[in-house]
Every structure is written in C-alpha cells, then in structure tokens.
Symmetry: D3
Subunit: 322 residues, 6 copies
C-alpha cells in the first residue's frame, strides 16, 4: 500500500457547518463515461503507485452488472477500462459469475483484495485479489447466498481475516443487519457475529429498514471508522443515506459509537434522480490520517465524492451516537 | 384570533387560467432552514398578533419527526424555533410521544388548538393548545391508533368540537377515507361518521387510493371549504394532489360538492423530487374572505404556497363536482 | 344480574393435568343448529333468570354475519332464535349495520350491555343494551373503524365505563394489540391506553402475531381475570389459542400477570377443521367464584366449552407469567 | 396511406455514437398542451394528407384517461383536439368505455385502425377505425380482460389481421410477455401464440420484469422491425426502456433478433421525473425507408421523439441480439 | 347424446331440508383410484352409450396435472384409464400442453366437446372433441392466457358457440368474474361480455373473492341453470362453495337470478381436509329433466356427488336471488 | 456407531404397491408425550448402545422451540427427557440460542454430531456433539443467518466435513434450494456449491416452491441416498412431501438421480390436520443395508414412520428421475 499520497480534497464551503460536504464538481464519474455503460456507481478506490487505482461497477446498456479496473492520478479524474475484469483461478476453479457488482478494495499485507456482490444462484460475496490491477485472481465465495455488501478489514484481526456483510434474500431485501465473519485462510469462514442492527424508527428513521457496510474501515484513535449506509422505506420506495460507526479495534463486532443523524443523505440533483432515485451509497474512503474522501454511488447512476476531517467526524459520531 | 391581517398574496400570473397558482418564490421554507433539519414540510400557520404564527414539521437529520413553533411578519418569511415544542400537561399527564408530525392549527373561542399525528404505539391524533405559541399544553389523544390527518373545525358545531380524521393502519396505509367525530370536551370523542371516501378510478383517479383532510376548513356562503389531499398509486409509488370539498355548514358530514379535477398536483421541480417525490400536501389556509393562500408540503421536503380567489374556487368546486 | 345460578360444569378428566379441559360433549352448539346457519361460533352468554341467555354469532348460508339471542336452562343446551336481533334506537339513530359478529355480553348496573364487531365502512365496535333479551337498543359505535374485539368491563372503573378493544385494519389484520378506553356515558370515548402487546416469537410464539380480548373480565383476589386469544402465523395461516391475563383492579391498563404458555390451543377435531381451521376463540366466561366455564368459538364453525378452577388458573397465570 | 411525406428529422449530434438519439427540442408535446390535460404521453401518429395525424393519450385533471385526435404539418408541432374522440358503432354496439389509453394507429388497406387499452371491467384491447380522423367507429374488444399494449400489424398476414398484445392482470401487472393473435374479420380472434418473453436478469436486466409491444411494426429487408418497451423493477419501482426486435416477415411469432442492450433508457430530465419517473415508452414510429422517428411517452407526462437510421438499427439488433 | 338414461340418484335423507344433499357413499372416486394418481377431482361426466363417459383430472404422484377418460355403467362406479388422453390435431397442430386440468364435457350437435385449463405459457382454455372417448382431437386454445374455468354451452346460441370463462393471472388468482365469449367456428372468439361478478362481502361473502363457472349449463323453463363456485378468502386461505345462477335462454350474458346463499359448502370430512382443504368445486351435472346430480371436486383430492330436484333448485334460486 | 442393531420394521401391507409405506401404529410419538409439550415432530434418531437414541423437537405450550434427548429400545417406543438439552461450550463460548428446532443427528468418526436450526438473530445452522446423549457440546454456527435444514454427511468427504443446507430468509421463506458446504474443522465453512434446485411446476409440482435436505444421507451402491422434502404452495398454504435423491459418492454436489414423483405425501389424518396441516417432513433414516425406516414430522405436530426396501427405492429413484 502507498503510505504517502496526494489526498483528493476540497475545503469545506464557506458557511457550511456539516460534518461532511460534497465535492463541488460532483459527479466525478458520469453514467456514460465508458462506451458501453448505462451507469457507473458504487465503486471502490485505493492509493496505487503514485496515484490511485479502483474497481468500478459499470452496468452496461443491457443492464448487466460487472466490475472494471480504473486508474487516476488525482483520485478525481479516472480512466476506466472498457472491458470488465477477467479473473483467473485463485483458491478456486469456480470463477464464473452470473453478475458482479458493488466492489470494495483494500490492501492486506501483500496484495489488494477485492470483494463484491457475486452472482452465484443469487447474490453472495465474491473475493478476489490482485497485485497490480492488471491480473486478477478469484477465490471461493465467502458465504452461501444470499448476501450483499461484503467489506474486508484492511488487516488481520487476532490472526484472522475479518469481513463485514449483510445477509439478504433473493430480491430487493426489505431487511438487513451487519454481521462479521472470520477466516484463517480466505477460504473457510466462521465465527459469525452480529455487529449492528437497524435502528428503531423513533430513534433514527433513516436507518430503520436496513443497513450495510460501506467503505473499508480504517483505524483511528477511537477504533475502526466505518462509513455505512442506512435505508428507510418511504411510501415511494427505499431511500439510502450514509452514517458512520466506530468499532472496537480488537473486537470489531463491538460497536462503540454509531451516528444517530446521518452524515450525508440524498439532496443534490444527481442523488435525487437517476436509475434509482434517492440513493447515497458509500463504497470507499481515502484518508491521510487527517482528512477523508468518501466515494459514493449516487442514484445508482453516477459516482460522487464527499469530504471531511477525521477528528471532527469521530467527535461527531461519539457525541451523536445512537 | 386576528380579524384583519395582511394577507400573503401574489396575483395570478398572466396567461394562467388555473383556479390556483403557485407562489413564484416557492418553496417558502427550505429543507435546511433550521440547523438540525433534514426537511421542513406539512406545516400549519395562523394569523397571530400583527403577523403570523405557525407549527412546523421539521424532521431532523436522524429523521426523527417533531413539531416546532415559528413566527412571521408577512406569512412568507419565517423564523422557526430551533427546538421542538415542549408540552405541559393539559387534560392529561400522558405527554410523551414517540414522534409528532403533520400539525394543523386553528383558533377556537379562546385559544389556538393544535392537532398532529402523534406517535403512541403507532400514529394517532394528538391534541394540544396554546395561547401564545410559547407555552403549549397537551391533551388526551383523540382516538385509538391508527389514525392520521386530524383536522379540527374552527368553531363548535351543534355545541361540540368537531374533528376530521383518516383511520389508517400501522404502515404506509394503502387505503383511507375521511371521517368526522364530535366531542363535548376535547377529551372524549364519539358520533363518528363517514364523510368522504376515495373516488372510483374511472371518475377521478388522482383520489382513488386514499384521501385525507388538509387545511382547517373555513366558512363560505356555500358551506365549509376544505382543501384535502388525494392519492393515486402508480407503479412507482404514491402521488399526492390537492382538491377541495364543500361541507354542509351545520352537518359537515354531508358533502355538498367535491372536486373531480384536482386543484394542484405535483409538477414543479420541488414537488417532483425530494425525500418523497410527487407530493403536494396541504396543511393550512389563510384567507381574508376573498382570497386564500394554501400552505402545502412539497415532496415531503419543503413548504410551498398556492393562491386563489375563494369565489372562483367555490364556483369551480360546485361546477366540477364528482 | 343473577347472583346464584347453576354453574355448567364437568369435572377434570382422570389423568388430566391441564389447567383447563374441554367439555366431553363438545361442541355444545353445532354449525347447523338453526335453519339458516352456516356456522355458529364466537358467542357470548350470561346468567339470566333461572338460567342463561346469550348472544350468538350465526353466519347464514349466504355467509352474512349477524347476532342472535338465545336461551338455555343449563348453559349447555341452547335454543337460539331463528331471526337476528333487531335493534331500536338507543343513544343514536344510526342503527344500520353492514354486518355484526363476535358479540360479548355483560351486566352493568341495571342492564345487559352487548358489544360486537359492527360493520360501518369496515369493522368497528358496536354497542347495545337490553333488559330482557327481547327488546334491544343500539348505541353509537365506540370508535372509528377499524376495530375488533371490543369487551366491556362488568362495572364502572373510577366512575367510567371501560372497554378493551383491538385496533385493526380493513382486512385480515396481521397485527393487533389490546387497548383500553374510557367513557363517562357510553357515547364518547377517550383516555385510550395500550394494555398488552404481542409477545416476542422467542418467548411465546402462540401470541406473537396478534392478541385480542376474549371474555368479559371478572374480579378475583388477584385482579381482573381476562381470557384472551393469541395468534401465530404459520406457513399455512393463522392459529388462534387462548391464554389469560390478570389486570390491576383499579387501573386495568396495568397488566399484573399474563400466561406465557397457552391455556387452550386447537387440538380437538372440531378445532382443527372447519371453515377456518385451527381456531380457539374465547368470547364468554361463566363463573361462580370457584369455577369457570369458558365458551369459545372453534374453527369459526361451532361453539365449545372449557372448564377450570379459578384459583388454579390464577396461580398458574402468576407462576407462568411472560 | 401517404407514401411520400416529409419525415420529421434531426441529425445525430456530433460525437454521439448511439444508435438512436433524442430530439434536441424534446419534449415535443407538453403536459398542459390542451386546457384540460394533466399529462399527454404514450401517443401515436401516422402520415395523413400532406402532414400527419395522431391519436393522443391526454389524461385530464381528474386523471381520467382518454384519447384525442390531433394534426400536424411537420410531425413535431401538433394541434390536439380539446375533446376526446367520440366513437360511433362499428362492428359492435358496445361503445362505452370506462377509460381509454395508450393508443396505436396504423393504416391497413383502406382505413386507419386504432387500438388502445380499453376499460371494460378492467383493461383490454379496444379497436376502432377512421377514414379521416374526424369520424371514428368502434369495434368489438379483441380480447377478454386483462390485456394491454395491443398493436396491429400494418397489413394482413396470411390473409388475416394480426395483433400483438400483452396479457396482464387487474393492477400494476408485475409480469408480461408479448403474444400474437389472428383474426379473419377484426371481430373474432384466435391462433394465439407466444412471441417474446422477458429476458433473464443476468442477460438483459432492463427487460427482465415485463415487455410490451410499442410502435406498429414496419417491414425491413430483415423482417418486421418492432420497437418495444422492457421493464426492470428496482427497489424504487418500475423503469421502462426501449429496445427493438426483428420478427419473421411471414410468421411474425418467430423472433429473428432482439436487442440485448436497450436503444433508449430514461436519462433526460423529462424522462427521470414526472407523474411516473423513469419511463420511456414508445408508441409510434414514422419512417421513410431510411430513417425512423420514434414517438415515446416520457415519465407518463410528456411526448418525446428519438431518431435513427433504419439500416444502422437493423444491423445493431442483429449484432447485439439476446 | 343419449336422451334416456338411468339417472344416478339417491333420495333426500330424512329430515334434510337442504336444496341439495350429498351422496351417502361419497367420495365416489378416491384419490388413489388409478395407480399413478395423487388425487382425482374436478372432473366431468356425460351420458354415453348405455351408461356414462367422463374426463377426469388425475394429478399423478409428481403432481403433474392431466386429464383421463373414464367409463361407468351407473355414473357412480367408474373405470378410469391409466394413461392420460392423447390428442390428435383438430383445427390446430399445436397440441402440446404444459399441463391439463379441470375438464368439462358437453355434447353439441354431433360430438362431445371438452374444455379444460390448458398450460400454454400459463393457464388458458384448451378445447378438444371426441366422438367416442377413444380418439380425441385438440383445437386452438380459445383465449390468450391467463384464463381458467372455460365452460361451453351445450348448443349454439344465435348461431354461435358460446363459452363462459374466468380471466385470471399467472398465480393463485385472488380475483375472478365470469365472462362469456362467442365463436362462429370454435377457432376464433370474440364478443366478450361480462356475465357475473363477485358479490359484495356484506351480501354474500361466500362468493366475494372470486367466482367461476362450474357445470355445463342446461336449459330449464326459467333459463340456463348453471352451477358455479364462489370463493371467500379467510385468514387461512380460500374456501370454495357452490351456488347456482339462471341465465337468459337467448342472451346468456344476462343473469336472471343467482343464489345469495350457497347450495353446498365444505362441511364433510373429505371436503374439509385433503390437498387443499375447504373446497367444493362443481364441474358437471347430469339431469333427467326432473333431477340433477352434480359432480364436484372435494378438497382438490376426490370426487363427490350431490343431488337435487331441478324445480326445487330453480324455485330456490329465484326466491333467494342476490 | 452401532453396526448390528434391531431394525424397527413393519412389512409392506398386502396390496400396497407403493415404494414406501406408513407404520400402521402411526404416529409413534404424540403431541403431548412429555408434560410441557404442545407438539413433538421433526426429530432425529440414531442407533445407540443396544437400542436407539434421538434428539427431538418438542415445542412447549408457550410454543417455544427446543430440542430434547430421548431413548428407545426398539426405535418405536420412546422415552423423551422432560428438559431440553443443555449445551456446554464446544469450540465456541456462544452457546445461547433464541430457539432450537428441526434437529438431525449422525455419528462421524468418534462422536454423535447434531445439527439444528438455531436462533441467532434469525434461523441459522447450529452444530453440537455428544458422546453419550447425556453431555452435549455446542460449536460455532456453521453459517450466517438465514438458513435452515442443515444436514451433515456421516463421514468426511475428501478429508472435510460436508453439510447440506438451505439458505432462507427471516420469515416463512417462499423459496429454497439445497447447497453443500465443506469444513476442515467444524468451525470454518466454505466451498459452497448448489446441489439441487426446485423443480419446474410442469415437471414435478410437489417440489416446485422449495426443497430441503431431510435425513442424514447414507451410502448405497448407487451413491448417497438422501430423503428430502419438497414444497408446493397451494392457494391454502404450503404442502410438504418427501422424495429422495442419489448424490455422487465422492462429489455429492453432483445429483445422479432425483425422484420426479414423491415417495410420501400428506394423506393420513395426522398428516392432514394439526398445527400446520399437510406436512410430511423427514428428518432421520435408520437402515440395515437392506431396509430403511424414515422418521418424519407430520403436520408439525407428531412423529410418524415410513418403511421401505433400499434396493427398491434406489431402483425407483433411478427409473423415475426428474
């Protein structure tokens, strides 16, 4: 992983008192940014070389879902490959997928690990890795279907890989909590624990229908900082917003704090309309120890960015905890 | 109550032939107009002092629903309190609520009465009063749950308080008709009568799924003029529009006329997108005997205003009755 | 009311250790016991004269629901009128009903009061009274629709009439809790309080979907003893069982004890099959201070009886409380 | 029919590589273009005289659905009648409808035939004809309810009239495939065959929930070119896009090719918001043998146009077939 | 057809006052009466030769639905073929079916016509004929899917074949009314008219969810006598009962009378339990001008018979009409 | 495990040609066979000592689900403990469960392994072991919720434990296929593969809604013989029947054969009525190499047995394979 990198960043606008603010040039990736795409959203980025690499969800014009590699010098302007990632056999030969979507990426020890929602008789969590974002290797699916939003921790915890995920059903799942599972080897998974559940409607309605892990957590003095999405079901469908939680460093199934108010909710035009209106869906966070840039899918159509100061956010999560 | 007041008003735009027209500076209240708010909508106003007072639904950024007092010199520019209304015991000690939303306000005899959707094991109709919009007193809930859209008449009828309401269920109720109930004392309610039901799809589809009372009715020569909302369920959710009905002066469960066409339906951008797209939801009407200004929630996100001439509207309701 | 009466009774069968046991000659009323009936069930009885009177739900062969008077010498063999009860105006002129079902009867002060599920734009709670079971008077519906299972207390509490009920929706309501409401005059109702909610699936699944008041409560040393029904939704529909609760004598919204196990659940052939399989639905209880005989609808088709010793039942409710 | 006519047309924008592109002045018909209308969309046009005629779906402000005649010199600027079409008896006396919507029009042999969704105890396919767009005659409904999207072929096939349609249910049908039926006389219909079904989610998700015929097919060297709509159900409702299929000239139930990618999907503001967001719904196509102009309803609110070269489209359908 | 035949018959039991009564030896056909069968029900019979022939729905132990020929001397004891009917091409070559169920049979002019629910991309109405119950010919399906309960009239009406049917959807359709359609040739169908709809819950709840034609109608002095089924949806599923209607002789879409009470509803053990509890489903009626024997499926498992006097039934339908 | 044991057995009844037949004294365990039970069903047995041991699902009268040990000399007459199994920590300290139901038991190598549906924020697969049916140890749950019907193979396959299961949702799951997962250590699980899916309605409707593993598979010359349940959803709920499959010995995700007809379906009274009517649910099979005795839950109320000859069954599965 790259330790020193040039953080993509834009200062808080004058007069803004929000913990997190949108990039003024949002969306940073448009729906048609590669020739075949219908939409590009819910994508993940990491520092790479002297810039950044990422894995992008690009639905094509047949509305087939797949993931694509991309590269950027500044984390804002991206070149996305025109063909989806082709995987080679990693720890499994079963490398066919009905579809791939909602990737996350993180460096662990010696390589970049990618997780995504993998179509195998329904959605489950696919795992792959790359050393260079050119050659990709696919591993065994982590879980039985049906599951979504699998997010790895960026380091082993108590000697084991750790993954957050959200058990689901085979449709537009109207429920969903966040669980953690552990693996000694990225092949067999167990020690499943419930981490966070939806909030009561009265306490925090934006996250009362379902929640799911968003970005790869990163360590702060307070613990793991996780951006996650919460969903409320209005009479006109689901609305996805973003909050944050702080998980215990050594025992991440222990939630120390968790935002009662959201940090970002659909309000900008590109979040309010698109293929699925009213969606803010975080999938990645870049940070330099002080600042954080969150990449989020907007309206299941484009990619936006939002910024914040980590200390402020941590303080806010602590002081506005559910 | 204030008899002579400066009516908020804007003339019908040139070329417009609609019975009611939007204020050109809509929305008059934005979603972030107080620091904690996620959205401000479905709110009620009355003349007060030399200006106006109101009770506003402000959902905070945890999407908790509550009602707030506010004041205005002109009925258009509002100062809304930053903290929700705190109630003292009125005719009950049970003054806790899980949530409060969709207030209505009216002067009766000696004080301002407020009704709202009150969270008590589900939505029901809360009642309170104030003399000054500073000190508020809460009364017994009018009904068992589940109920929404409780609207008081501004004077006693046959010696009793009268309230419109819409029996509901515990979710996004897909049905709903308007009933009236009477009370000798604002504590016990009875003599429940059905007032208006949804219209057949073939006759008036915009109000075929559910209807609910909107603004506090006011007397015209023709009877009580009530602005109400009607809902159609499209394949993409509920769409809320506004119509009007004329109820018999002495026996308001008798509907004399009721609009077959709507008076206002979602068409402006702030009505078409927001937290719940396609919502026009009237909650209050100011009038000076000739003109009326309706305050309505737009897209469950902001407050808009629409204007009209009462005579024209009454004639229209009569001539376009279902 | 009759103080001394001949209790219908059958001793606990040899070897039986259950708190309550079925009458060996069940069902006591068959589905075709009057010429027009499709089914007779969910009915109520009281001591009357030197015997008993009752109000019976008899659905006719058009499956129209109505209530009928009936008389018995011994509480077991019944003569039911062949025509439904015709009401005269009590405290209201609105004495038309779309349907009437699930009656309860109790003596209060000077007359027999009857409550039932009354069809007025959907189910709500109808109220009537009689002095002689020949002439009947109808009062205002207690509540707005939608409501079911309205059960009066047999005496005023703190000077007011008190009624249990279960707010519902307009179909086969898949939810339901028990509330209490008060009235100074049997016309206007208020002071609504939640009494009992469904139990968590893990704790007492037979009552995890909905619950509703059953028989008219009667006073014991421990408080009001109420037989109620609880419902679980299996993959093949609703299953109704019977439990009991003890409510505070002076403040009956306070539940002192409530059975975690059921007292009676569908197991006999006439409970397992019929128009609605798997239903045990108590509507009345006769008692002599020591013994109790519960009348219950079985499979929405016939009427059964179950017996028990009050002391044993009270002890059981206390020692097996949820 | 008119052989030589002035094709409405706008060239492909510079830099655009799409097969079909929107008219830069979309929408060509606005929601309020006649005094009574709430929305004008899903409408059909044909060459007529030295210009064009059409049948337009105009929902009025009571949201009653009906069809109206209209005329245009250039196919872009339209004068629509202010009153709905009044039908006279054609081959039936049953000319009442609960509602009429989504018309299609085609010339066959000696007259213009109109089909539409006709309200007769639910939606079914109405048939009518006109010689002059002034006098209209109604025929027997083609099918039993429930059916939508009836589209006639512009010539007899094997001596019989042929119609595509989509069997439906009585609500917002969540399923739907395209069938063909034949008639010797426009009165009795039979020989029903399944033509096209929805696509598997993995292969072409935009058409995985339901599909329906759109424009009247026209002959190309490759066979009948049909523009049709496909629907995906997202967590926020239905999204309608447009594709194309090529059907065998002599046996049109045989699908030769069918687009895996869509040709046009909601992305413009007037397609993304409106009474039903995210709808592109083709109902007519004008063509001069080389070029085609498709008229489509946008967001169930307005009418838009899209253009393309027939050869390019045919090649695309062949080379991107499902 | 056979004019003089030996009517299967059993007298009304002593003490019975019902219009129709069950055969004391019911069920007449058991679920395992052929080696492969899981259940035999919803079947049709006609006089044939010196006895009777029939077409039987036998679901096999894979629960595949198919129809089988059978023969009987007395109409009560049946020999059913062990292999399903194999059809030859009648007026169509499309003689494959995904499944066949719920047959009806009638003689018209020169042959026995059979209709059934035919699986062609969902249920629709299949048509076939035979002269001898040995050789069978299949015709075009009458309608587009989805349809069930197609029942032919036993003679042409106004020169055309006439068929009752119930438009449905692709699942356990929760709605359903009876329509009539006409055909000049048993190939093309049109002139669709609504005949009977479900009854309001308040008036006749047993037929408030859906209704469908049962037996082939036969002429009486009062008009066509049709036995039909009606369905109510209880909280534990659908309950099917039997009623009767009298249709105008020359214009059978005109309903002259129709039973408000049912004639037969599930009450016998073999009707109350089985593969689908609580089903009485008439599919055929034998009659000798005075008496009628109805064959009905019971609990989707076996076949039962019920008897009655035609005059009594006609009088009852007239005097108890909805 | 016990090699030679006295097989519980009853010969095929005279005249019976079915592959499997019911025990004439069914049910072998009644619903009230222990004092606290509401029902005893879906239970598992193994040879043990000179007789048999088992783990039984006994729902108590609060309808709490738990598992109990039991013992028998002959496999037919059982003594079931009156208290549920208390687990000690095995490879986990997390030994609390919200509920336990539907156990399976098998000997592997050195101990008896038990799997069951374990309540941990919803149903998932619990694992435990015992050496003596007195002391029990609980292990980590195999999977994330939601899952049901976890069934271990009785020996390691390719060096790993293997378990069948059915991913589910959090309610009365209306879908379900059988998967296999592998574990090196009974703690971490992976290599998830789909084994069997539901059958098309047209081919084998009894198993078209969901399927789930039943008894622990045992080896035959043809491969692993697995009894499983299949479900069809009728208009009156789910119906559970039993079939069998033969899985490849070394690669059990490979299905060699699978019954198109069921082997046993609800037809006996104790299967047709009870807490959940129409359920046959196999959970265990005893066999001596020639004969097999299947234990199955009936109507979610009692335990029944069915017998068969293994060779006959294997031949039948092969010759009647889907």
């Amino acid at each position: 992983m790259v330790e020193n990198f040039k953080m993509p960043w834009e200062e808080r606008p004058a007069g803004c008192t929000d913990m997190m603010w949108r990039y003024s040039q949002n969306p940073v990736i448009g729906r048609y940014d590669i020739p075949t795409s219908n939409s590009i959203f819910n994508s993940a980025v990491v520092p790479f070389g002297d810039g950044f690499a990422g894995v992008f969800r690009c639905d094509n014009k047949a509305v087939q879902m797949n993931i694509f590699a991309g590269f950027s010098k500044d984390g804002i302007h991206w070149e996305i490959e025109h063909n989806p990632i082709q995987f080679k056999a990693g720890n499994t030969d079963m490398i066919e997928s009905d579809y791939k979507y909602d990737p996350r990426v993180t460096w662990i020890e010696d390589r970049y690990w990618i997780t995504w929602c993998n179509g195998y008789h329904g959605p489950t969590i696919g795992i792959g890795y790359t050393f260079d974002f050119k050659e990709f290797f696919q591993c065994e699916n982590a879980f039985l279907p049906f599951n979504r939003n699998g997010v790895l921790f960026p380091q082993k915890i108590n000697g084991k890989y750790a993954m957050l995920s959200r058990p689901s059903d085979n449709g537009h799942t109207p429920f969903g909590d966040i669980y953690i599972s552990y693996s000694p080897d990225m092949k067999y998974w167990g020690e499943h624990r419930c981490v966070m559940k939806t909030a009561p409607f009265e306490d925090s309605a934006w996250q009362c229908t379902k929640i799911g892990a968003g970005s790869v957590p990163f360590l702060t003095d307070a613990g793991w900082l996780l951006f996650y999405h919460g969903v409320i079901q209005t009479c006109n469908g689901f609305r996805y917003s973003m909050g944050a939680a702080i998980l215990d460093k050594d025992c991440p199934e222990k939630v120390l704090y968790r935002t009662q108010p959201y940090l970002l909710a659909p309000a900008a035009p590109y979040e309010l309309q698109g293929d699925v209106p009213n969606v803010v869906f975080p999938c990645a966070a870049l940070q330099d120890g002080k600042r954080v840039a969150v990449y989020y899918g907007a309206a299941d159509t484009v990619v936006g960015m939002a910024f914040g100061y980590i200390d402020e956010i941590v303080d806010f999560v602590k002081s506005h905890s559910l």
